[in-house]
């Protein structure tokens, strides 16, 4: 219990830090020194001190969306385990809760983007919905495969079982497939390359960034923070499935899990460095492949 609480606090504190690790990795590959490790925090503080400017066409939806997003992602964090560390709130079937709380978060972003009435934002929203509809299938089926494999329907139970050996344990093949699928889902849901480029400067090619163009100040800070926590949540799931480690003590588990998250951030940084963004028409294909991987895992278990 104490470790679960500790995990949540660590998540709240260090979620933006993971973003920074990704950026530093990319800078390393690019031969630059890159932004300071605490840059995301500086940005957040800067944004929090600014006031917001609202378009005259927006309604209350636009105003409330950022808060709801943060609330949703915090709820998701509460049911997220990390390997051997159970979630703060663990109950049977919480995997559905997690998926749909994340869905709520996305819904808020999308509907707020539509609320602005801007053509760019509508376009981004359309893409986001299209891709996440595919990614959600992959995520759900993948989690279902793990659930069927370990005979448990609670995320914490599932992760504890999977933690036993990850990709290299006796459940190897299933975990390998689910991990691969979750990695794609993670990249898609967090708008990373090869699905979306967080650093792009052209509105036409953006997906996530274009939807939050009209936000500023505190609202933007909330959204950025929520996005970072979301990465942490999905990352924790992936690490739980993939990491071949089982410590004897809880503190060891926690340390290994955090180490796994750091490695994950490094891996994402490497992927972003060596890959180009996919053409938009190819993105659904990637997500369908992720779905197929999950499906294969499920099949491997059920046959």
């Amino acid at each position: 219990m104490i470790y679960s609480l500790l995990f949540v606090f660590l998540a709240l504190a260090f979620a933006p830090f993971l973003m920074s690790v990704i950026n530093r990795t990319k800078a390393f590959f690019g031969g630059r020194s890159g932004p300071a490790l605490l840059q995301p925090y500086y940005d957040l503080v800067k944004l929090l001190r600014k006031g917001a400017v609202y378009s005259r066409t927006v309604s209350w939806i636009f105003h409330t969306a950022p808060s709801v997003e943060v609330a949703a992602v915090l709820a998701a964090l509460a049911v997220t385990p990390l390997g051997g560390i159970p979630a703060l709130l663990a109950f049977p079937g919480d995997l559905l809760f997690l998926v749909y709380v994340l869905g709520l978060m996305r819904f808020c972003v999308v509907i707020a983007a539509l609320d602005t009435g801007s053509a760019f934002e509508g376009m981004g929203a359309s893409r986001e919905v299209q891709f996440s509809a595919l990614a959600e299938v992959a995520l759900l089926v993948g989690l279902a495969a793990v659930a069927a494999k370990v005979h448990a329907v609670g995320l914490s139970d599932m992760c504890r079982e999977a933690w036993a050996g990850g990709m290299f344990g006796e459940n190897g093949v299933t975990m390998l497939l689910v991990s691969a699928s979750l990695l794609v889902v993670l990249l898609a849901e967090n708008s990373r390359i090869p699905v979306d480029d967080p650093n792009t400067h052209l509105e036409l090619t953006m997906i996530h960034e274009v939807m939050i163009l009209d936000y500023g100040g505190v609202d933007l800070a909330l959204i950025e923070y929520a996005a970072a926590v979301k990465f942490w949540v999905l990352g924790s799931l992936l690490v739980s499935m993939a990491l071949p480690f089982r410590g004897t003590s809880q503190i060891g588990n926690l340390a290994a899990g955090l180490g796994g998250l750091l490695v994950l951030a490094l891996v994402v940084g490497c992927i972003e460095s060596v890959m180009a963004r996919l053409r938009l028409v190819r993105v659904p294909q990637l997500l369908v492949v992720a779905g197929v991987l999950s499906f294969l895992a499920l099949f491997n278990v059920m046959r």
Partner: protein, 213 residues
Amino acid sequence: MQSPYDLMVILLVLLNFRLLGASQLGACVNTVAVQALLIGLLALLTPGVSWNWMTLMVVFVTLIKAVVLPALVRRAMRETGVVQEIEPFVGYTFSILIGTGMLVLSFLAVRPLQVPLDGAAQVLVPVTLFTMLTGLFLIVARRKAITQVLGFLTMENSIYLFGVAFAIQESWLVQTGVLLDVFAAVFVMGIMIHHINREFDNIDTDRLSNLRD
């Protein structure tokens, strides 16, 4: 790891999806080659295989299918100057979805069959079927003559897989059969592709549509 065997089987399935989703001809050729290699490895890893001249035969066939044939196909591609883009009749994403359907179908289809041999080969039957369906699908749903040859080679791979999976007693049949088929696929069809290219200036088989009722 469950076993390297299982992993390889999953890899085979994934390679099929790669074939269905690949948009470049070169990638397809490589995938077919890797598939052949993997199947050869599977054959050698099958429990109960003793080292004798049959092993040599497997190595020989695998080398032909994984090295010689792709080289020949690539040569044909170079000589005919074919465009790398595959130009499917059925889109890539949809192909992959159909692939999933075929996978399920093959698992369902072999349900009533009880495999009389040992359990390791159990999972290979549906995978064989799936690979075969993939090959057929490639033949039907792609436009270029070379892709049709590749689809045929994929089918061939599946047949070989089945043969080695069961370590069929009359393995001369497996080897000869596959070699004959491969001969048909590459030499005769290769010659034909050459002629088609000369005659039509490209190798899209949808140009071959003069004969119809």
